[in-house]
């Protein structure tokens, strides 16, 4: 199938016009580097993020593109930040509003329910993913829905919604382009805002060639988008129900707000007569007065654009239509009770922490093997399954960049450190780490043992502190040279050159 290009996008000579960031040229002659896949999931066994990260980095083109693209977003974010004098004040406000709302969450949830119901919205409560899926299925079945169009939502990823619906013979069509690519490739989103950011255009070309019959040799972004549009529009038009998430839920008005750049949430919500919004209970804000604080921060932090293309307010069903909101807990209440980890609930899913994270940029979001990747993932994934995600808090240098870009001031890097403590305390730490740290703790607690363990005069492999090479694997030396060992340590130098002076001085004083 070949997609027709719209006339206005074609210049008189039949060439495609460049259009901003997506401008691209067809790639035909090169042999494409195959796309590295994400972490290997083996039941409940702890995910090995570094194994998947190593495979991602081995695909050098992918890694370089991924790092450059996300770093570009970070730089655009910085530029927007500098355009707003009160940026840090906005962050304080946003954090304060979220903390306030979370501390009175029961009150605001009930207020929302009351006001939304008065607006004609049907409000449902789901304690976990399974309940959410069952509620939605029931709504769809009772209305004979066979096809559902959907805009991007991390919450539905949490709930395993697509698989569940496939199992129950409801066709789900993602309408966000990146999410649709991921759906067609049967892969989870790798990033909360740009779900297919880990893919090269050539990867997308091969996915589309297999699934919607586009030309496998044409990796032009414009062509591919157009093909997808042609393939998906008819499905959208014939769907009987639409689903969205919700970025902000306004208690005072009983309304909710959805932010997108492609307008696909509006398409999903407004095309069919039935609109279901699945929303996590932490998305509440008190009133419309508080909303602009978040709207000003969200897209600037996420993509470095002043505002999302579409900021849509939903306040009730249209005539003859239906609107449902499913408020989902799925572990959030429990997290709210965790002394150190509750601030993670302030997250507005802007992805800025991922864009800035040097580990994320080099590993790809799928290497985390969890719904949430990157810094925010490290601190919330273990709340879903502490054993399976126990290695994730170690996938960080704790450099703190995430904490400082976060628009709602979540102390991400401190929570990463706290997770390490919590995991070690609960015995959820790998035996290698445990043994090494126990040994290091003993050696470093005793000056005599410590001095005796020093590497001087031993083989090169031992030329590193005990705790670095205890496992005999010399991971240090694989890609780095080992520092040369000087003739004497500082301690020895001091004893020779200063300690003796001190002694003779004090002896002199005594005599």
């Amino acid at each position: 199938m070949t997609a027709e290009l719209h006339e206005e996008l074609t210049d008189p000579h039949g060439e495609q016009l460049d259009h901003g960031a997506a401008s691209s040229r067809p790639l035909k002659s090169r042999i494409a580097e195959p796309q590295p896949r994400g972490a290997k999931i083996r039941g409940n066994r702890p995910v090995d993020q570094s194994e998947a990260a190593n495979r991602f980095m081995a695909a050098t083109e992918h890694e370089a593109m991924h790092d450059a693209r996300l770093w570009d977003l970070r730089q655009k974010r910085d530029k927007e930040m500098h355009g707003i004098e009160e940026w840090e004040e906005l962050r304080n406000l946003a954090s304060g509003i979220k903390e306030h709302t979370l501390s009175k969450l029961d009150y605001y949830l009930e207020l929302f329910e009351k006001n939304a119901t008065a607006n004609g919205i049907k409000v449902h409560w789901a304690k976990d993913g399974a309940e959410h899926n069952a509620i939605v299925l029931e709504i769809l079945r009772s209305r004979g829905v066979e096809r559902l169009i959907k805009s991007k939502s991390m919450l539905t990823e949490e709930c395993g919604f697509r698989e569940f619906m496939a199992h129950n013979h409801v066709e789900v069509i993602e309408t966000d382009l990146g999410e649709r690519i991921q759906q067609l490739d049967d892969e989870a989103p790798s990033h909360v805002v740009v779900p297919a950011v880990h893919k090269l255009r050539t990867d997308v070309a091969s996915v589309f060639a297999k699934t919607i019959g586009s030309d496998p040799d044409n990796a032009d972004a414009h062509y591919l988008t157009e093909c997808q549009r042609e393939a998906t529009r008819p499905l959208i038009l014939s769907a009987q129900a639409g689903m969205t998430g919700g970025n902000f839920v306004v208690a005072e008005t009983g309304t909710f707000v959805v932010c997108t750049n492609e307008g696909n949430a509006d398409l999903s919500a407004n095309t069919p007569p039935l609109h279901i919004a699945s929303i996590g209970i932490e998305k509440l804000i008190p009133g419309l007065n508080e909303l602009p604080v978040f709207i000003r921060l969200l897209s600037r932090s996420a993509l470095g654009s002043p505002i999302t293309q579409y900021t849509s307010h939903f306040r009730g069903p249209r005539e003859g239509g239906e609107m449902h909101v499913v408020l989902v807990d799925n572990g959030r209440s429990e997290r709210l009770g965790m002394e150190k980890f509750w601030p993670g609930l302030k997250c507005i899913r802007c992805g800025a922490c991922m864009n800035t994270c040097p580990v994320f940029r080099r590993s790809g979001g799928l290497s985390y093997g969890a719904t949430y990747a990157g810094p925010i993932g490290l601190i919330i994934d273990p709340t879903f399954n502490v054993h399976k995600y126990r290695n994730l808090p170690y996938s960080s240098t704790m450099n703190g960049s995430c904490t400082n870009v976060c628009p709602v001031k979540i102390n991400i890097h401190e929570q990463i450190a706290d997770w390490r403590k919590t995991l070690a305390g609960d015995g959820e730490i790998s035996p290698v780490k445990k043994v090494m740290m126990k040994a290091a703790g003993e050696v470093l607690a005793s000056p005599v043992v410590y001095r005796a363990s020093l590497p001087l005069g031993r083989s090169a492999l031992r030329h590193l502190p005990h705790f670095m090479l205890y496992n005999k694997l010399n991971t240090w030396g694989r890609k780095r040279d080992i520092p040369e060992t000087p003739k004497q340590t500082f301690n020895e130098w001091y004893r020779k050159n200063r300690k003796s002076q001190e002694k003779s001085q004090s002896e002199g004083e005594n005599s």
């Binding site: 990260a53 910085d78 040097p358 960049s401 703790g441 470093l444 780095r480 520092p483 340590t489 200063r498």
Partner: protein
């Protein structure tokens, strides 16, 4: 003013010249500086890995060694951060609190406590790239960070600016982490090394002859990557430049 010198394990073992430069530099300002010879480490490797209990005895030893000084100074930002912000495995007695609040990284000690305004003996006619360790940058706030909207400042640059002949080389990602990350460098070796290589590439592109930092651990990692890559870059601790090292 009695100053205790803490020389972190990396510096003690691999870069004694940094310890010597720190000691000599402090003495140039007329301070009486002592190095308690029974010191080992600040407990960072264990704490960093989450093993707080395993860090307790090392922390106790640290407090025993340094309790008697007015200030504890060390040529390492990450160790300072450990002592000041993370030394929580032991009971917070007055002695512990004293040590924690009195421990300073060398640059901040020179800049904030001594308020040094000249290094007449120092001259370094070279093109130098500055690396700020992440703990030093974002936890000790030794310089402004690119993530925040704040007035630009840099304590290490202010000090280095007083050195005759020095020229700064600009990095494209000046405060991107180099990937050392303490035990991260061995547990997550692949990503760590890649980040180090990218850092070295950026330093090379800047046209720097030297890289300097107030942290030896990051530089040990970067230098290891640079050597393996065959990159022609030299690494020197800021204490040495400020103490008048010529090259």
């Amino acid at each position: 003013m009695k100053v205790g010198l803490f020389v972190p394990c990396y510096v003690d073992m691999f870069h004694p010249e940094t310890g010597i430069a720190t000691l000599e530099l402090l003495e140039r300002f007329g301070l009486s500086v002592e190095y308690p010879v029974d010191q080992t480490c600040c407990g960072q490797p264990m704490t960093n890995t989450g093993c707080e209990r395993e860090a307790a005895k090392t922390e106790e030893l640290f407090v025993r060694n340094f309790g008697k000084y007015d200030y504890i100074v060390t040529p390492s930002g990450s160790c300072t951060n450990q002592v000041r912000n993370n030394m929580t495995a032991i009971e917070q007695t007055d002695a512990v609190k004293h040590v924690r609040s009195r421990t300073y990284e060398l640059v901040e000690f020179l800049h904030d406590v001594l308020k040094v305004d000249a290094f007449p003996w120092a001259e370094f006619p070279h093109r130098v790239a500055l690396h700020n360790n992440c703990n030093t940058l974002r936890n000790l706030r030794i310089a402004s960070m690119s993530e925040r909207r704040e007035e630009p400042f840099s304590k290490p640059k202010a000090l280095l600016g007083m050195v005759k002949g020095i020229e700064f080389a600009d990095l494209t990602r000046p405060d991107e982490c180099c990937g050392f990350g303490g035990t991260f460098s061995v547990f997550e070796e692949g990503v760590s090394a890649k980040m180090g290589q990218d850092k070295v590439t950026d330093q090379l592109k800047s046209g720097a002859e030297y890289v300097t930092s107030s942290d030896s651990s990051c530089m040990m990692h970067q230098e290891g990557c640079a050597r393996r890559m065959g990159a022609n870059l030299k690494y020197i601790h800021i204490a040495q430049i400020l103490n008048g090292a010529r090259a």
